[in-house]
């Protein structure tokens, strides 16, 4: 409750929360906001109005114009919001669960197992993230789920390290000794007594990560190893805009709408998560709590 009040009092986190609510609304209202055509197999496939390469200016028919290949930008943005939530939450959930599992095992059993698991973490961390994700999507092939797996398989190490250090700290506390003395088994001890007390830092980390995962996913789409062609995805819209940023001879900004709208969508979405995550971190850090109003 306290957390909630803090979030609403602080202008930055309030902005973040409102933005997030806005995106949730767009995502849930997607079928109402856009018109699906009978031949569409899935609403995530952007409908095309012809096969022209040249983008079309915004009009009454295409609210924000069309991009290369006559994909409707408005449609792509609206359904792309769902894609962004899927990617952000999905990848972070996979990474957090797996990382928590590895971190808990390492911290709880310690010794050789801990040493081995942490060295594995080190090796995973010595790959540049985006490049690692690029390699895996190259191998798995294009597609939303392949991309999510690629991002998650190099996105769990932070959680593992975090949860490990949290558990190491909590493990030594008196109430754990008491529970042990009371005959509580290993699994129960981890699940009921240790994990609930170490989850908040993971939550903060996850919130901060959601935005950056969406950024990375869009980067993969931009590089051409992300979603399939025509999939409603903001990164894909930006990659479709690439050939048109110099405009026409007389008018360098002729096709501004192809890049500005999708760019703005990604920016605001990531910003929302970062603002909320930043506020959560301030709340978590007792040294900063109450010290200032930001």
């Amino acid at each position: 409750m306290k957390t909630f009040k803090y979030m609403l009092r602080n202008p930055l986190s309030l902005t973040g929360t409102l933005l997030l609510l806005f995106f949730i609304m767009i995502a849930s209202l997607a079928p109402v906001l856009t018109e699906q055509l009978p031949y569409q197999v899935t609403p995530y496939q952007m409908p095309r109005d012809g096969f022209w390469q040249r983008p079309q200016d915004p009009s009454s028919e295409h609210l924000l114009g069309t991009t290369q290949g006559q994909y409707d930008i408005f449609y792509g943005l609206v359904w792309g919001t769902r894609t962004a939530f899927k990617i952000g939450l999905g990848v972070v959930a996979m990474g957090a669960v797996f990382g928590t599992l590895i971190g808990s095992i390492a911290a709880f059993y310690g010794g050789l197992l801990d040493e081995i698991l942490m060295r594995v973490v080190d090796v995973f961390m010595s790959f540049p993230f985006l490049i690692a994700a690029m390699v895996i999507t190259t191998i798995l092939g294009k597609g939303l789920y392949q991309m999510m797996i690629a991002l998650a398989s190099f996105g769990w190490m932070g959680y593992a390290r975090l949860i490990r250090s949290e558990i190491l700290r909590i493990k030594e506390m008196d109430y754990i000794q008491a529970a042990r003395a009371g005959g509580v088994g290993d699994v129960r001890l981890i699940l009921k007594h240790i994990l609930p007390n170490s989850l908040f830092p993971v939550l903060v980390q996850a919130t901060m990560n959601t935005g950056s995962m969406v950024l990375s996913a869009a980067a993969l789409s931009f590089l051409g190893v992300g979603t399939e062609v025509g999939y409603a995805d903001w990164g894909q819209l930006i990659s479709l805009a690439r050939n048109w940023i110099v405009g026409t001879g007389g008018n360098p900004f002729a096709y501004w709408y192809t890049i500005v709208y999708p760019g703005l969508a990604i920016f605001l979405f990531v910003l929302a998560w970062n603002l909320v995550g930043d506020a959560l971190r301030d709340i978590l850090d007792p040294r900063l709590r109450g010290a200032s109003h930001v």
Partner: protein, 345 residues
């Protein structure tokens, strides 16, 4: 100090082996036919159809047990043979070496504004904690942190290339490329700026710098944000320490307290983060080089990935991981050098 470096160097092969193992295991997810390219130094063998491919799978032992293939592959890698890259029509190892200077030049040049700017702005924000300057810097960094590199780069290109026509894309203008390739121009490092200085060629130097402005700003802006935040919180922490109070009590001017006493210690975490930023910068390099048509390793990797050129992508990943490991080693040694507490452990 020397023992510390020595100990770290001993660990290096272990990490490298683990990295190689991982890259190899990833490639084993592919079918033998797909992997054929990794072992096939000459692409013309591939044109013989299914029968030929089957024969080649047999010949190169792509159906062999995992360990046998691993041993053979490691042997090749150690001898510097990373396979053939279809997308660039040359051996992967050769392509990596040829393109490395361009990417190193861009990366190093981008680190300058990131590090110097972060130190300066981070200090300013911490000194004026909760003041207007602090808030502006904080908002600015959060905005930067959320701004996608590719959007920033494309919009920069739209304005400075499309509209104003001040700054070009690519690595060099056509005439400068010819000049660099000519007999008279000696290539010392492969980095255009450095070579132009060494050759005393002002025109090429200027041209190379002009091409660098946009990519460097694009790379720097996003990572700069994260770095400023670290510097700010580290400086805030340091300013609360007792010795800073002591310095003030001695009657030292604020400027001296900030610059000579507090900032030095506040730099320590920044050193560590710089290592991590370098790692993330590498991902940024791929995108930045793609946007600005900068002919370097990043563009090579992105093209290879688009063309499903597995040997090139895997070779590139291994190569960058190696650079990253070495970079981390340098950062750790630097850290130990700066902080005596680490050295004594």
């Amino acid at each position: 100090m020397l023992t510390y470096i020595f100990r770290r160097l001993l660990f290096l092969p272990v990490v490298l082996f683990a990295l190689a193992l991982m890259v190899f295991s990833l490639s084993m997810l592919l079918t033998p036919t797909q992997r054929l390219a990794v072992y096939c130094p000459d692409p013309s063998y591939m044109k013989g159809g299914v029968e030929q491919a089957k024969a080649l799978v047999e010949l190169y032992g792509l159906d062999d047990p995992f360990l046998v293939q691993l041993g053979r592959w490691l042997g090749n890698v150690i001898r510097g043979n990373l396979g053939w890259s279809e997308s660039t029509s040359m051996p992967v190892g050769q392509a990596l070496l040829a393109l490395f200077p361009a990417t190193a030049e861009l990366g190093l040049l981008a680190m300058l504004p990131i590090v110097l700017g972060a130190i300066w702005f981070g200090t300013k924000a911490a000194i004026h904690h909760n003041g207007v300057i602090d808030h502006s810097i904080r908002v600015f960094t959060i905005l930067g942190w959320s701004f996608p590199t590719y959007v920033f780069g494309l919009i920069a290109l739209m304005i400075f290339y499309g509209w104003l026509d001040w700054l070009p894309s690519g690595r060099l203008s056509h005439w400068a490329t010819m000049e660099v390739a000519s007999e008279a121009f000696r290539s010392y490092t492969g980095m255009n700026i450095l070579d132009a200085i060494l050759n005393g060629n002002g025109r090429v130097l200027l041209d190379a710098l002009r091409h660098m402005v946009l990519p460097v700003i694009t790379l720097a802006y996003v990572w700069w944000a994260g770095m400023v935040r670290i510097m700010r919180s580290s400086m805030l922490e340091t300013l609360r320490q007792d010795y800073v109070t002591t310095a003030r009590a001695k009657g030292l001017p604020e400027r001296v307290v900030h610059n000579r006493h507090a900032r030095r210690n506040a730099l320590l975490p920044v050193t560590t983060i710089a290592g991590i930023i370098v790692a993330q910068l590498m991902g940024g390099l791929v995108i930045t080089e793609m946007i600005f048509d900068y002919h370097g390793l990043g563009q090579f990797a992105a093209r290879a990935a688009q063309n499903l050129d597995f040997p090139a992508v895997l070779g590139f990943a291994l190569y960058f991981a190696l650079i990253l490991v070495v970079m981390n080693l340098v950062v750790d040694v630097l850290y130990a050098f700066l902080d005596p507490r680490v050295r004594l452990e």
